[in-house]
Point group: none
Chain length 372, copies 2
């Protein structure tokens, strides 16, 4: 590649060339120093998360979890991580045009530090976006909530700065509803996941659908996108597909090689690719506990079947209790009847507003209340 693009700086500065379509070798702060002021439209950054993992972790079946143990994710303290963050954000700010914008992705380990520093440097937060993973890794030890999301920050250059937002494109992508700040996107696996000798090339490759939405929302055709932590080049591949120009920084040669191979084989956008990016809507699953939480069914409520042969009492966590039997609405119904299975939603009834109703009626009401 190596296409050099001429840009004209503000006022009457001499023309400068930008290394568009190139992966700059080396530390991203050093690499960005070679770029002129106010020259790129968007920065997308996926910095190390500073995970601070302890010992090994095994799944309940005894298999080993292949965690992120790379040296590039190790920092000795928050202070050192903060300095690293200030350094690259400062340089990113310098190369951004006044109406440019910045995206950073992170997890709870690092994103609060990044967000605060970003604000301290004068960036202006426009949204925080939640990437809700449809298939996250479970919490194998049952010690916390399943960590099922990551966070993206989108910021302009300052409170009064202008920025680009393709409102209509987002609304179209979201079935004519305003795009929300929570995005449901699967993690990167299957054919999209880059592998070498059967092993993943990069431990934290991001899904292209995520970059697709970011670039479609906040850049225009031919805009220049800089990714200081290029990795295996997801940003470059999607930029090429969407007709955006890109610059990457990456110090790991094997990542750069994989990125080149990938970007060269990336095809410019066609309609079929667009279709696969559309979010598919499916009916939300409702847990019985949600109805209890929402106050639609009080703990202590008596449930019974249509013939009033059986009864059970609702408990605080959404489980049922009937004699010595305890469990879910389905499980308790099944055991009481001695049946092979039971749909608790249709089996159990309650007195509601003077009438006898199956639980399913309340589920419908709840679904309406949480509809977008």
């Amino acid at each position: 590649m190596g296409v050099l693009t001429k840009i004209r700086e503000a006022k009457t500065e001499p023309k400068v060339t930008l290394p568009v379509g190139q992966i700059l070798d080396g530390d991203c702060v050093e690499a960005m120093r070679s770029l002129p002021d106010a020259s790129v439209d968007l920065v997308f950054a996926d910095p190390p998360y500073n995970l601070q993992l302890g010992g090994d972790l095994n799944r309940p079946d005894g298999s080993h979890v292949d965690a992120v143990t790379n040296d590039w994710d190790k920092f000795d303290s928050f202070a050192i991580y903060d300095q690293f963050t200030r350094d690259w954000l400062t340089e990113a700010r310098r190369v951004l045009k006044p109406d440019g914008a910045l995206w950073v992705i992170g997890s709870y380990h690092n994103i609060y530090r990044v967000g605060a520093i970003l604000q301290d440097l004068g960036f202006w937060l426009l949204n925080d976006i939640v990437w809700r993973k449809s298939n996250p890794m479970p919490n194998f030890r049952g010690t916390r909530f399943t960590n099922a999301h990551e966070t993206l920050l989108w910021a302009s250059m300052g409170e009064k700065a202008r920025y680009h937002f393709n409102y209509t494109a987002m609304k179209t992508l979201n079935d004519e509803l305003q795009m929300r700040s929570d995005w449901v996107i699967p993690i990167c696996n299957g054919g999209e996941r880059l592998k070498r000798d059967g092993h993943k090339v990069h431990p934290t490759q991001k899904p292209e659908a995520l970059l697709y939405r970011v670039l479609l929302a906040t850049t225009d055709k031919n805009d220049i996108v800089l990714d200081p932590f290029f990795g295996t080049g997801t940003t470059g591949a999607v930029a090429k597909r969407l007709g955006r120009q890109w610059i990457g920084c990456e110090r790991d040669g094997s990542y750069r090689d994989a990125a080149w191979e990938r970007i060269e084989s990336a095809l410019p956008l066609d309609e079929s690719a667009l279709a696969t990016m559309q979010s598919r809507k499916s009916a939300p699953r409702v847990a019985f506990g949600s109805l209890v939480e929402a106050g639609m069914i009080a703990p202590g409520t008596e449930l019974f079947d249509k013939k009033r042969q059986y009864s059970a009492k609702v408990r605080a966590d959404g489980s049922l209790e009937s004699g010595t039997e305890k469990g879910s609405i389905h499980g308790v119904g099944k055991v009481l009847q001695g049946a092979p299975s039971c749909n608790g939603w249709t089996f159990w009834h309650l007195e509601h507003e003077g009438a006898t109703k199956p639980l399913d009626a309340l589920r419908q009401t709840y679904l309406l209340s949480i509809e977008d």
Copy 2:
């Protein structure tokens, strides 16, 4: 109300009384100073977000920042907010027990500052939780993504600190799937929304379903919950319903009045409704040898895994023997598989009354037989 609960501090300190079931008047930092060290189990905090709203700038204590004489800018406002955050978090940390925990809710305006300061003070993030609003306010001007979520941080007192998590109750509440870090809960409106003369009493009243999940997940019955920004008392109302003790701080008299009225009309749950599914962790421990002693398993019985790849013989003392390998049900299973660990109760099976059963089934039978 005004029930005073006696607590005993660590070591041999004199007994101290806690203002349980009370709303402390005044600034929360001052109010918390009246509480003893290490005395509460949980802090839930919904601090003011009032940053960057344009126009007038108020300090979190309500005093007005004079734009002309103070020559404030966003850096000043962040610095003021940071100091306020450090102050109340420090005091909250002091009154928390060593195995207590803290929750804070916020939006992108303030949560990155809160999160970073929390980490700086030594709190250890356990999860960040996304409250995904099912019915958020749209972005009327079409300039950004619809801001459809808020963020909650859950933190323990430190990296090595213990904390409470009712894993099984959460799993039950979510229809037998692990509870994830993204929670879909409607915003507070309808009958739950407190109104006076047709206007909402508090601008940011939180839904009770949110507090319900927080308290059910991370407190036990009778635990003491402190809310430094009590507002109209959602925390107190849900705590009362769930049989938790509460303390509030609120400087606004009209909010305190509304909170009192609301909490007094809240109905506590009865004992059986309050019950939740208990994890097996809390069941009394049974030694495998006890089953042999009790005659439920005869020495010499052949055990095998589900696939019948391995087998072992039970010995008189409740140990297993397989080839040259001898030891506990866990130890032998672990060595045979070459696994990092093994739960012998679920790994080993035997023929019992014509069927193949895991040892765990016999443990359950034994547990029932020794119940009082």
